[in-house]
């Protein structure tokens, strides 16, 4: 008997699988962000000067751009999480999980634009100075 047969063709991806995969990836990214965030905040212990030094680094344009990515990551993770909660707790919602995905992602995309455009303007402003 062959315990681990080789795979000829990868299993077909579909919305539920991609949504789960992105949820995992964004979840890991958020863990890394939190570690970074705690590291930045902990520098407050070294007094105002040391803290300002670190803050000057994380306020560079590249970080302003990364923050837009952070907004997207948080929004995806939060709103896909909302979809999972709806699937889990609403009655007979599992069959319509794709529609629910579309609905929550529309809200997430709206919020992303709402927050992302001013953040991008801020980034451009920082670049020109």
């Amino acid at each position: 008997m062959l315990q681990k047969p080789p795979v000829i063709r990868h299993y077909t991806w579909h919305l539920g699988f991609i949504a789960w995969l992105l949820h995992r990836i964004t979840g890991l990214l958020l863990v890394f962000y939190l570690l970074l965030h705690i590291w930045v905040i902990h520098n407050i212990a070294s007094g105002p000067e040391g803290f300002n030094k670190v803050m000057a680094v994380v306020q560079k344009p590249i970080f302003l751009l990364l923050e837009i990515g952070l907004l997207g990551t948080v929004l995806y993770h939060a709103f896909n999480g909302l979809r999972i909660i709806i699937v889990e707790f609403a009655d007979n919602a599992a069959a319509s999980h794709k529609t629910i995905f579309g609905a929550v992602m529309a809200v997430a995309a709206f919020l992303f634009l709402l927050g992302g455009i001013p953040m991008f303007m801020h980034f451009l402003h920082a670049l020109s100075h």
Binding site: L2, P6, I8, Y11, T12, H14, G16, V87
Partner: protein
Amino acid sequence: MAEYTFRIFRYDPEKDETGRVQEYRFEPEPGWTVLDALNYIKWNLDGSLTYRRACRHGICGSCGMTINGKNRLACETQLKDLGTTVVTIEPLRGFPVIKDLLADMPPFHDKHYPLKPYLLTRTPPPTDKERLQSPEDRKKLDGKYECILCGCCTSSCPTYWADKNFLGPNALLKAARFLFDSRDEGFEERVNVIDDKHGVWRCHTIFNCVEACPKELNPTQAIVDLRKLMLRGRL
């Protein structure tokens, strides 16, 4: 019809170290299913090809296999619906392979025993009639009892690929079929198996089982319903 290429997983335990791909090219008749094509290969081209089949009508659950990267019943999959003339056929993944397309199913079936997939009662039956059920209560079992045990759902589940102790969508659907039956009184006997880290809580709502089920059942719905039942039990 055009000429089709069938790329089929082959493994002979007496000759092969591991699985390999063998290609067959021929022109199938219009209206053929994947199972018809496999039969054609076995009867005309290569008698050594091994696979399970029985009813040819999508009710015995024997011919579940991975066709073009998705678990389906070979007998219910029309070649023309695949939308390509290259057809890749693999045994159901997540299980050991005995030979060619023959997946070893006991790891799948064994998941049912601890769940006691039969009516459990403590109260004595009425002496003058059977245990009756109202049409409304009967309706609660729709989408739960139709399973044909083909294995397409559990074999498509990434959680099962990663955790072979996970009960899998199929066994949990079966558990729901009895736990939501108004006549069944076996909650106590089953709850410890389901309310476990390898039970309902392991599911990550990836929905591969729902995509794969040839009977269009929804094991994920059964799993979330069971979770709600477990939560209510705890509250």
